[in-house]
Symmetry: D2
Subunit: 349 residues, 4 copies
């Protein structure tokens, strides 16, 4: 469905990478008018100062949240850091729809949130009506939601690969090992020594071994699909590239299934999903094939160890892993074609 209606959007966290990518894509969306760019620390500056690559856009300067006339806003995209988002979102008028790219509303269990994010949740009253924004798996709920919590970039890649397999009981959910690799933009724009070019370049380093905050989110969704608690291994690695994420998932097969069954199950699950592409046998997914786009590529391979398979999925962490998925949810929420403003093909080479 196409539409000529225009929705007025505000972007919270406009000076971060997810904010920038949201602006980049939303500025070309036929049904969106960006009316406010919020970035506390840079309030008063023109966008071109913070992001020179967006200098050609005729957009308002950065402001604080207080300066925004929220009566003139229909929808808010939130790219604030976790722990900050819940407070800001709680302050928004109820009539403003919210698409949150932070981690604050992804976990349904408050104790789990407190344990992994180091503090009490600031807006627990909003959680019951929050919809987890993994578009391909929650389309109907998203269409009716006021507040959508977009998945983390890693959970997006992992769950697109494994959720249909867990739901379809094609794999066992004990002993799932996810070796994940991400480009450096996944770490955000705040200044940290390990993401300096001279430190992260020409090298590969694991991080957060056994302690990464995307673990509970993956376990929450897989556990729900399995109908019981699931514990996964999730080991992320920092790769010397800016964009891109690839998860190599080592999974135990359910009795009697094969890699071919898994591929077939994924194909059926995503038959009507324009952005998820289950590649043919023999094709190996690579981050280069999805860079800068909203696509997710998934491949399935037989393991040399009997009874196991390897499922590899790849996305652009800032697009399908964040801003692109946010817009995809926006489209679903507003009855628009799911691909609107997301048709850009991958940038290769």
């Amino acid at each position: 469905m196409t539409s000529t209606q225009t929705f007025r959007a505000a972007v919270l966290g406009a000076s971060g990478y997810t904010g920038a990518d949201l602006i980049r894509l939303a500025a070309r969306h036929a049904n969106i008018e960006i009316v406010a760019l919020i970035a506390k620390a840079h309030a008063g500056q023109p966008l071109a100062k913070v992001f020179p690559h967006l200098a050609s856009l005729d957009l308002p300067s950065l402001v604080t949240s207080d300066e925004v006339d929220w009566d003139g806003v229909d929808v808010a995209f939130c790219g604030l850091p976790h722990g900050t988002a819940h407070g800001e979102i709680a302050k928004l008028p109820e009539r403003v729809k919210v698409i949150d790219m932070s981690a604050d509303f992804r976990l349904r269990d408050l104790d789990t949130y407190a344990q992994w994010y180091g503090g009490e949740h600031g807006a627990p009253h909003l959680l019951p009506d929050t919809v987890y924004g993994l578009t391909e798996h929650y389309r109907e709920a998203i269409a009716d939601a006021r507040l959508v919590a977009c998945p983390g970039c890693y959970p997006t890649a992992v769950l697109l690969a494994l959720l249909p397999l867990a739901k379809g009981a094609l794999i066992a959910t004990d002993g799932i090992i996810v070796d994940a690799k991400s480009g450096v933009s996944g770490a955000g724009r705040s200044l940290k020594q390990n993401i300096l070019f001279s430190e992260a370049g020409e090298g590969l380093s694991p991080y957060g071994v056994g302690t990464h905050r995307h673990v509970p989110e993956i376990e929450q969704e897989l556990g729900q699909a399995a109908g019981r608690a699931v514990t996964v291994n999730f080991t992320p690695h920092l790769v010397p590239m800016t964009r891109g994420e690839l998860c190599t998932c080592y999974v135990p097969l359910a009795g009697g299934t094969s890699a071919d069954d898994l591929r077939q199950g994924l194909r059926e699950a995503y038959a009507s999903s324009p952005f998820v592409r289950v590649v043919d046998e023999g094709i190996i997914p690579a981050t280069q094939h999805v860079r800068g786009s909203n696509y997710c590529h998934i491949g399935v391979f037989a393991d040399r160890i009997p009874g196991r398979a390897i499922v590899i999925s790849t996305i652009d962490n800032l697009v399908k892993g964040s801003a692109g998925q946010a817009l995809q949810n926006f489209n679903v929420m507003h009855g628009l074609d799911e691909t609107t403003a997301l048709e850009q093909l991958p940038l290769f080479p």
Copy 2:
């Protein structure tokens, strides 16, 4: 002007990088239907085999030129290597418009061509009616042309920066020094040792010092603007990035002019050109600000040496430096809005 007319396009050289970027952009052009992909060495293969990032497109498999039904083609985009393009283009029916991204039709002088490209020209009869496709400077001629020769990537960046200054006599044309830097994709997809990751990575190397084939093209255009022969220094460097080109041009000022005058002159020249952006004083252009887009950013700086200035321009070598400019010319040739299918904002980070 928008239009609903569709033009049927063939792409010659569909397995190279410029071909791929042309397909990437043209596939999203509302007025283009890609009907033939020509790549001799890969004839018979699906596009997805050669370029997995384009696997989501529903396009015909690669074929040889002989297999194409040229009656069903309105326009041909040519991304063949120089020395190969003139022969293939000469064979096309006259009613097919041609937008050539190779070097074969850029030089108007046959001797100069023979000297720099090592052989006689294969289609000299086509040269008189060929238009040099630097869109911003030859719009009217391009609109009426049958054959447009798109500039090389380096000449695009250099001439956008210097042509208005030479035409306006704001600079002298003796003693122009261009220190140019390019990403590795500028070297194409053919296998050469110096562009292996392990050789080109983590290092910078000048190449073709004093002998690069883009020199005569730059001198042809600057000489025409100056009304006499011009000799420039052009020294290119290979930079460990895939896309992007930046030219640092050291120019002698014409008597009495200043860096501010140059900036003002450029602003006037490009007031109606949506893709050329003359940045404010103090802003320094960078390839990151135009990556993946059709924009060109130009900055002007005072030199510490009296009587000289520095003009810095940057483009994405595969977009504004090749496939994007080709589409921009297509738009001009067909009376479409110049920005059609080129609205993508730069990809940063």
Copy 3:
């Protein structure tokens, strides 16, 4: 033990990356005189033409093997491609010691060799006396060997991490999953499209899933330690960096052991090995910490999945994974201090 004796060395395969790194290190070895550089395709050229970074060395030009006076050679380092090495090594006089960096003599079983390397072995008579050159585990045999087959880069990293654990029965050998990552130099210097800068840069791609030739080598050694056939999962990934290799090994614990036990076991195994460093709890190995050096760093981590642990090891694939280990073996074979000419500290940043 230090020595003033000089051994005359020939390098076969002097135009490849392992050859180059061997020359780089051997040229500064007090007990080595490089007397012949063999590279068939480049015979007649000075080394500086093939490797400008070695231009300061006063070494003989490249020659064919036939041109070498083997009477004047004490030891041959072989950096030829697999399938080529066995033939060339078979031709060498028996008095010449051989340190082979190729794959040709790593597998003890001829059928396994034929299966994975696609052909019959050219010098099976040499296999019985060949010693597998994983220095830390075969020191005594290496000291007496005439022909040493240096391990592949991946097996070096994996076996240094897992051999002591398998030998000590600290881990089970069923269900070992190795997710491996390598820099692009591991693919060698021959021209292949996937290792062009524009293809391998800014991206991560798995390859040889389930079919990489280093698998049988890993299984051979682990199987011997376990006393029965072992099947491992080994999934390598190409990382956009030139040097460096990191293996994330997901291992099942033997009943009752913990990550701490594994760390302790590794510490004991390598107490007298100067190049293997078992890092403290909480420290995460990274390729940056060993780049350009002969060191191997190993870290052990508890897995969130009960009964499993994660062992991470990292090396420089061209040094400890090839040329450095070859020199280390040379030192052991000639009664020299094992660290001679290998004292270089990692290059960081």
Copy 4:
């Protein structure tokens, strides 16, 4: 001359990149014992915490300057930021020799220092006896010096290329244009947004156009050679690599000279300098050829513009451009062979 004498060294600024590279090289110097590592902000931490790649060294933990027993120190290497170094150096006992890698003692003129470094000099009394540490040009003075001010990385590359030409009157000193390119490590280890991997990667950006602090240093030395004030253009660019620096110098020839004359003049000037290599005609210097080493490669090329030539020089900014040159000066100051501990060959690939 070799020696068995050991000198006790302290390193000020041990937590920065130049400090780290100094430690890396000095730790393998036969005549140096590192007795103190000074890094105020990290005092109390072991070196392995700050630089895991140096974990194999058995060195004292980081301390403040006050904690050092300076009676036990013979020589201090200073890698502090400019503006900080002069104060710390002024406090050192006179019997301690000082090799300063900061900018504080490079400029002989106090006004020039104040103008470019934004403040009064903190130790002007030390300037008269300071020797400018461009080893190849000031060997004799360095041998007798107590305080040596090592040149900046850019001035090292530029002056090695141009000083002999200016001294020999082979070039004119009006109209010298230096287009300089540096890897990101040149910007140091302090946290700045533009040197994050996601910002500096896959892109090239000029910076400090017309205002870089290395300009007065270059002009000071060239002016002294020319016997009058010299104004150069110096335009640096940030390149997406960690190490390496390359300066493309566009120079006016003195009447009657040619590129060959310049090459010959450079060869004569450096006939006894082991680290400077003037490459043959046709060879193009590249940062890859000197990476990780103390070498400087220089090439000379004819310009297409009559009366001009191009001189290209390249170094590793952290070695010959900083820590390596510091050690080279240490060797000269202590009567050791100039190459001691600097014999490492370039790391390629």
